[in-house]
């Protein structure tokens, strides 16, 4: 089951001042919405608000029709920095959302094993995060987020720290995995080509708000029309 997320006149900021003002936006159930913007444009701030990690200064976030007042397992998050718990093995990290939900050991193990196979980490179950490469750690994060069967996955520049080859592979893997899951995806990046590769729609942030929303023609895949969209997005940035 997918989740629709609505932002109504949402204002966000920190003690040092506002970051976003009066943002209105609807994330459609089941779509991949990619948010792009220059550094400091409020991409990650917006994502934290969607996750329920940051209370708004004004306005509200609705998950379906319910106001978001805190975190929920329905909205899992994948972080750019290593969000894995370093003392838990790969398997036990992926089992974490299932443990929180109170699943039995046997159920946890079966689900975790399935997700680890899907992200290509079979044989690495008993390794600690520090024994993995950056790309492998991000795959564990992805498996952990999806193992909890969230209705939306919020991804904060998850491939930003990876080298070009690994990032390309992770993008392919994500597209692979997205075919199997119907979760709504909100993906933050500042790589316009990554946005066009993954997105159903691209939201461009800047000047404290949404500058434009660009529909990406389906299928996402290759070329047609992307050069024009890329130019349009870069112009907005």
């Amino acid at each position: 089951m997918t989740l629709g997320i609505t932002l109504e006149s949402l204002s966000l900021g920190y003690a040092r001042g506002p970051v976003l003002r009066e943002v209105d936006l609807a994330v459609r159930p089941g779509e991949v919405l990619v948010i792009v913007g220059a550094s400091g444009s409020g991409k990650s701030t917006l994502l934290r608000a969607l996750a329920g990690l940051l209370p708004p200064h004004g306005g509200r976030v609705l998950a379906d029709d319910a106001e978001v007042t805190g975190t929920s397992r329905e909205r899992a998050m994948v972080f750019q920095d290593d969000g894995l718990l370093p003392w838990r093995t790969v398997r036990r990290n992926v089992e974490l959302p299932l443990r929180i939900r109170g699943l039995s050991r046997r159920e946890r193990r079966a689900v975790a094993q399935d997700w680890l196979a899907r992200v290509g980490l079979e044989g690495h179950e008993d390794r600690l995060p520090r024994e993995l490469s950056g790309g492998m750690r991000q795959r564990v994060q992805l498996a952990r987020a999806l193992a909890g069967t969230p209705r939306a996955v919020l991804m904060d520049e998850p491939f930003g720290a990876l080298d070009a080859q690994t990032r390309a592979g992770m993008q392919a893997l994500l597209l692979d995995v997205l075919r199997d899951t119907r979760a709504t995806i909100v993906f933050v990046t500042h790589d316009v080509d990554e946005a066009l590769l993954l997105a159903d729609r691209v939201v461009v942030l800047g000047r404290g708000g949404v500058r434009s929303v660009v529909e990406v023609p389906s299928p996402r895949d290759p070329a047609a029309g992307r050069a024009g969209l890329r130019g349009q997005i870069l112009e907005e940035l």
């Binding site: 718990l85 290509g120 600690l128 490469s133 993008q171 392919a172 790589d191 800047g206 895949d221 870069l234």
Partner: protein, 333 residues
């Protein structure tokens, strides 16, 4: 945004993208997930084998470099132990020279026992049940006081660091009592508790409590918020954050506090025994001094040193065992 700024941003974005991979060829270049999984697996494998591979010479039989590394490591360990033993032997030799010659070089060694007298004293003491009773009594006191302090110190440290209200109530109290040396609490302990035994355990507890509490408090505050955010966005509440993030995450800091706590616990238990005990290594050492049995004083001191070293080493060992995920453990293994 000005036109110039926009152009600059666009160039930066373009440059980054071009570095990463040319936009025109990307779709063809995107490798299949399987290919990348295989490549990354190889990379990680190579990383894990990195030092071994680096140490190997071309043409070496497999495992030769691993064997060379093990040999070098064990050689270094033997050398370190030899240096440590030599240091102790030199100190013992110096003691022997100073005491046999009744040296009086401002410090007076003429009244201190020689190594032979200490050896004879040790042999006669360790064969008596009283020696072992004293030793057991001190160990029970320290393990009880230290154990209670470990539980209470970790609980209090977590509480004041995680709860603003608890911090407001308890921090002023802790900060007012913390500077008082535990041994200065002896008169209060004598007045407060019906038996000496409980008073000594209380002193030991008070000595270990504050280092453990302060280390725990710092460790909780130093935890990256990212781990907590991760657990919360997976559906975890405060209880899950405490159990899955805070308690395991603070272990390195807590064990720092436990090591310090164990040291000061020994200082205080021995001092308290000297003041108000009826048994125990501290009591016996002081009694030996009052009856002018100087070899027995040295035997008591050596016993205290060995017990302190063993218990501190046990804390260190447990600390390493419960934090195998720290990089330190990897280097040493």
């Amino acid at each position: 945004m000005t036109a110039d700024a926009r152009i600059t941003d666009a160039r930066i974005t373009d440059a980054r993208i071009t570095d990463a991979r040319p936009a025109e060829v990307r779709p063809a270049e995107v490798r299949s997930a399987d290919e990348v999984r295989a490549a990354e697996g190889r990379t990680a494998g190579a990383r894990a084998d990195g030092p071994r591979a680096a140490g190997a010479q071309a043409g070496d039989p497999p495992g030769a470099s691993a064997w060379a590394r093990r040999r070098a490591r064990s050689g270094a360990k033997v050398r370190r132990r030899l240096v440590g033993a030599a240091s102790l032997l030199v100190a013992a030799g110096l003691w022997q020279v100073l005491t046999v010659t009744d040296a009086q070089v401002w410090l007076r060694f003429d009244r201190l026992p020689t190594l032979g007298e200490i050896g004879a004293g040790t042999a006669s003491r360790v064969t008596t049940p009283l020696y072992w009773l004293d030793l057991l009594q001190s160990l029970i006191r320290i393990l009880t006081g230290f154990g209670l302090a470990a539980v209470a110190g970790v609980a209090a440290g977590v509480l004041v660091a995680r709860s603003a209200r608890a911090g407001d109530v308890l921090t002023p109290l802790f900060e007012a009592v913390r500077p008082i040396p535990a041994i200065a609490l002896v008169p209060v302990a004598i007045l407060l508790f019906p038996a000496d035994e409980q008073g000594i355990v209380f002193i030991t507890f008070a000595a270990a409590f504050f280092p453990i509490m302060v280390s725990t408090r710092h460790a909780v505050r130093a935890l990256p918020t990212l781990w907590e955010d991760a657990v919360r966005t997976l559906g975890g509440g405060r209880r899950h954050v405490l159990w899955h993030v805070v308690l395991p995450g603070i272990l390195p800091g807590v064990f720092g506090g436990l090591s310090v706590g164990m040291g000061v616990s020994w200082i205080c238990v021995i001092s308290a025994e000297m003041i108000s005990g009826e048994f125990g290594v501290g009591y016996r050492t002081w009694m030996s001094y009052t009856i002018v049995d100087y070899p027995a004083v040295i035997v008591g001191m050596i016993t205290i040193g060995v017990l302190g070293w063993l218990t501190s080493a046990a804390v260190e060992l447990v600390g390493r065992r419960v934090t195998p995920w720290l990089p330190r453990a990897q280097e040493e293994s």
